[in-house]
């Protein structure tokens, strides 16, 4: 079915089609439309689920955890401070191996109050054991949400999945949306450790030094396995519904001398920048990283690399740039741009490429720096 939708509405539609049994959520700008739309689906009977209107994000994740451990499908959505408020429980969800799916509408952190796009909120969740995908279009937000349930609930994974979409730039932008009939693409959830009062067990009990690390290792093992599961799920999605994704979306990378790596909507802007650069004779390409956890190996050998971070780790650097540097053992030109919704056009990105200085960091818009 072809329609138009905002990123938020596309996520809500995919959630409806995945048929969660419990949704617990708290509204926060710019995520609000997702939870409002789901509440609407539930109240109209289109989605036969329980919608728990909780008193905080901390409770939203706790309620999802309580519901998920009974073996039912759960969903929540949040953004920015909501995600940070949830942080204790996002760790709990992953540690308890619960396949909760959450949309996070990326937004900057206060102070000063800023409701516009930035990835620092999700970056602060990167060590929790959640899988993280970053999307760049309304269609992708929808497709990734459907796939998230499938991936999270795979019995080799059983880890929560976070779909990240840029605040306003994607959450509130209308684009065409081709909705599918997922049918058996998302099979019924089978949670091997679901609570069963006929077979009582302790959950989350005190765990000593001789056992705790085994549970941690198990999360890492599933993270590694998730590479295969993500690839297989995306393959099947592409066979059934005709749209192909991957760990990265590569644009004119094959013969490129310089590659721009970014995440989210900046990746779309980078593709336009690449077209312009090619017209000017610069052999540029764009690589948009989709999955940040698990973090894939990127094929960047022999090229110069410009990384744009819409996030920052103070006293350290752009998280994406540093991750690529560490994992690929290469020098990059690290650009910090787009914080708090700062406008970054394709012209600006073309400028980053033309003025690149490998091995340095550049804060876009800040004068007298680097």
């Amino acid at each position: 079915m072809l329609t138009v939708a905002t990123g938020n509405k596309a996520v809500a539609l995919a959630v409806k089609q995945a048929k969660p049994v419990v949704i617990a959520a708290y509204p926060i700008t710019p995520q609000t439309e997702i939870v409002e739309q789901i509440a609407e689906y539930v109240s109209s009977g289109e989605l036969p689920a329980r919608y728990i209107a909780v008193e905080s994000e901390h409770s939203a994740m706790a309620a999802c955890i309580g519901a998920s451990v009974t073996g039912v499908r759960t969903f929540t959505a949040t953004s920015s401070h909501g995600l940070l408020y949830m942080h204790e429980m996002t760790n709990w969800a992953a540690g308890a191996r619960l396949p909760i799916v959450m949309a996070n509408v990326n937004r900057a952190l206060g102070p000063g109050w800023n409701i516009w796009a930035e990835h620092t909120d999700a970056m602060q969740e990167r060590d929790t054991g959640w899988l993280q995908v970053y999307v760049a279009s309304v269609q992708e937000a929808y497709d990734a949400t459907l796939m998230a349930f499938r991936i999270a609930e795979d019995n080799d994974i059983l880890l929560p999945v976070m779909i990240n979409l840029d605040g306003f730039l994607l959450s509130h932008i209308m684009q065409p949306l081709d909705a599918v009939e997922p049918n058996d693409f998302i099979p019924p959830l089978h949670l091997p450790h679901a609570i069963d009062t006929k077979n009582p067990a302790g959950y989350g009990t005190l765990t000593g030094p001789e056992d705790y690390f085994k549970f941690r290792w198990d999360i890492e093992r599933s993270m590694r396995d998730s590479m295969k599961v993500i690839a297989a799920t995306e393959d099947e999605f592409s066979r059934r519904f005709g749209r192909t994704y991957g760990f990265t979306e590569d644009y004119l990378c094959e013969d490129a001398d310089v590659i721009v790596v970014s995440m989210g909507t900046l990746g779309r802007e980078a593709e336009v920048a690449v077209d312009h650069l090619r017209n000017e004779g610069v052999k540029a390409g764009s690589m948009r990283l989709r999955w940040f956890r698990p973090f894939p190996d990127l094929d960047l050998r022999g090229r110069e690399v410009v990384v744009i971070d819409r996030d920052y780790s103070f006293g350290f650097g752009g998280v994406l740039a540093k991750s690529i540097q560490a994992k690929n053992r290469i020098d990059v030109f690290s650009v910090i741009a787009g914080l708090g919704g700062q406008e970054v056009t394709y012209d600006d990105i073309a400028g980053f490429v033309k003025n690149r200085r490998m091995g340095t960091e550049f804060w876009f818009g800040v004068t007298g720096n680097v």
């Binding site: 309620a63 451990v69 429980m89």
Partner: protein
């Protein structure tokens, strides 16, 4: 007298302190609830007394959750069970810290939403699990490790806060009266919606008395009127028998305080305030029962 089942849901070898009345209460709670029950436990003594993975001393599923989230987690769990058409009892068993202090936001939310669950606060009047720091439940004048000179604030009235949410059922109980607790748990579980039982749980190391005295101290709490046993069903208050007697003729508060090291050296002024508050509370509840509000 209710018929109390022989079946045990707490197995031998918990790591509770000797004389722990929180564990004694839990034993009766689970006997009243039966096997189709999930216990939701935030950080508190009960999260420790189950024992260490891979063993557990509990014979019902116990879901351990983060300190602030017991009511919210139970809310999600209860919603899921009801959506699946299951009647499984969802019981939060939380200490006073997880209830009166850090967990109160989630507690209030779950009651406002009409969550179908039973929330039990076992109140040992301090953070027992971390070594007896003061909590919102610590009474005026009691010494804890963070109120070494005695607490200067009064005990938070969580029952009045819960009452303001107008739940269909709420009650108080005391570990020293297990049959009363048993009956109240059964009644709470027979009612749909959020129900609350506040259990006073004397704690030998925290209250600094010798381990064999838990039941005696609990009885003195009720007889002196510092702890009042009652039920409030759909807003109607009924004071439970032992407290009725205490309203007529309470034993001196000193009889309750004297055996406890935590009140040792309490100054006369504080004692006076404590006595006044006890008398006022007894009068308030008696009036509420009589319909004079």
């Amino acid at each position: 007298m209710p018929e109390i089942p022989k079946e045990e849901f707490i197995l031998k070898c918990t790591s509770a302190c000797a004389g722990c009345s929180a564990s004694l209460s839990l034993r009766y709670v689970l006997k009243a609830a039966g096997p189709d029950t999930v216990l939701v436990v935030p950080a508190c003594c009960t999260s420790v007394i189950q024992g260490i993975y891979p063993n557990t001393a509990m014979n019902v599923p116990v879901y351990n959750v983060a300190f602030a989230t017991a009511a919210a987690s139970a809310s999600g769990m209860s919603s899921a069970f009801r959506a699946l058409g299951k009647k499984t009892n969802v019981i939060v068993y939380a200490g006073d810290g997880g209830t009166l202090d850090i967990g109160i936001q989630a507690l209030s939310g779950a009651f406002e939403r009409g969550t179908d669950f039973l929330y039990i606060c076992y109140d040992n009047e301090a953070y027992g699990n971390t070594g007896m720091q003061r909590s919102g439940g610590t009474p005026l004048g009691a010494k804890t490790t963070t109120t070494p000179a005695g607490k200067t604030d009064v005990k938070k009235d969580i029952d009045a806060i819960i009452a303001a949410h107008e739940p269909p059922y709420q009650a108080t109980a005391c570990a020293a009266y297990p049959q009363d607790l048993f009956k109240k748990v059964q009644k709470a579980l027979s009612i749909r919606g959020p129900t609350f039982i506040h259990v006073l749980a004397p704690c030998p190391p925290g209250w600094r008395y010798s381990t064999e005295k838990s039941v005696e101290i609990g009885k003195l709490a009720v007889k002196s009127g510092i702890w009042v046993l009652y039920e409030r069903e759909y807003g109607n208050l009924t004071i439970t028998a032992p407290s009725k007697a205490a309203i007529k003729k309470p034993v001196p508060l000193e009889d309750y305080l004297a055996p406890q090291g935590r009140f040792k050296g309490i100054d006369p002024k504080t004692l006076g305030i404590l006595k006044q508050r006890v008398a006022k509370n007894l009068q308030r509840l008696a009036q509420e029962e009589a319909g004079v509000c």
